[in-house]
Symmetry: C2
Subunit: 203 residues, 2 copies
């Protein structure tokens, strides 16, 4: 089981304009790419994957949208398609319990901490991705991977995550977008699953 969790600090919590994902919708483009990167392979979907995006922007935060890969229908990897599914879910009257909005897409009034508690209770290993963490090469397994959007985690968010995280991993010194990090994590896990080593490439 692979779980990808994105804290989207400014992402709209009310229906937004699909033509302005990167602007007024609070970097919903990045949220959509994160979901796409976590779920899609060429001509297919990663069946064993869930994605949680915590939308924390105006005007009704927090709301979390959950994509469950093996239940999804009619979702394609482009930003506009994924954003339209998020937008539809934001019309829903919500509560603290998950509500199904369309096949495989759920919404609830849940904060980052609520999500971490929920995942911890399923006995899934939680990894924080952070440039100051230990090199991912030194150990990784299937689990839940927590990342932030274009805004770094606040001190208090970090404290919350570290309460539940089993480990902190870094990828490179280069600061990468969350959607790129999801791809690299998937790649590592794919290689491990295929029994391939990650040996030093020569120049």
């Amino acid at each position: 089981m692979r779980i990808f969790i994105l804290m989207a600090h400014k992402a709209s919590t009310i229906p937004f304009n699909l033509n302005d994902l990167a602007g007024a919708a609070g970097r919903m483009d990045l949220v959509a790419r994160f979901i796409s990167s976590s779920l899609f392979i060429s001509h297919g979907i990663r069946k064993d994957t869930e994605v949680y995006t915590i939308l924390n922007g105006p005007t009704d935060p927090p709301k979390t949208i959950k994509f469950v890969a093996n239940e999804l229908k009619m979702v394609s990897p482009d930003e506009r398609n994924i954003a339209s599914h998020i937008r539809n879910a934001l019309f829903k009257k919500i509560s603290s319990e998950w509500i199904l909005n369309s096949p495989g897409i759920y919404i609830a009034r849940k904060s980052l901490e609520d999500i971490l508690i929920e995942i911890k209770s399923r006995n899934v290993k939680i990894y924080l991705l952070d440039e100051k963490g230990r090199d991912i090469q030194t150990g990784i397994s299937e689990g839940a991977f927590v990342m932030s959007d274009h805004i770094n985690f606040s001190e208090s968010e970090l404290a919350t995550i570290l309460k539940y995280a089993d480990d902190v991993l870094s990828l490179t010194k280069t600061s990468l977008h969350a959607d790129h990090c999801a791809i690299i994590v998937n790649y590592y896990l794919d290689r491990l699953k295929e029994g391939k080593t990650i040996s030093p490439p020569s120049r």
Copy 2:
């Protein structure tokens, strides 16, 4: 120098509807994500990078759009922004020579083979990315990386590429989108640049 080359078999060669990138525009969403993945890091751009996308769809193929990172202005990583720059370039009257359309964005009537000849003449190593290639772990360097969109290269395209390619690399057995492959190639090159090894991660 890193160069990413995408053969976009169905991508529109005339101005298209920005609200239908994945449909009528011939998977222009994938083209845009490929450019985004090749160029962008968090809060910045990879200055030493060029991206070539060969648009080969209706109704006026082939046209190649070139993004030169260190000249770019006002380009952001969302699909719609990048697609709008491509769309603008498609209004241009073109010839076989590069024409600057906006800062860092060029267009020309060039085929895949024209691009390969041009890059070869600059003495840049050319890599084909293909699932049947040798594992990328066994050797990689900066160079030009040639990939296909959602449609596999035809036999004749492959023959053309192999005429110029120095090497054929594969990433995993899992078939990945071209934009995801660009991210992984960038990641490997980043790690090598940082002097980090790619050692076997333990479980």
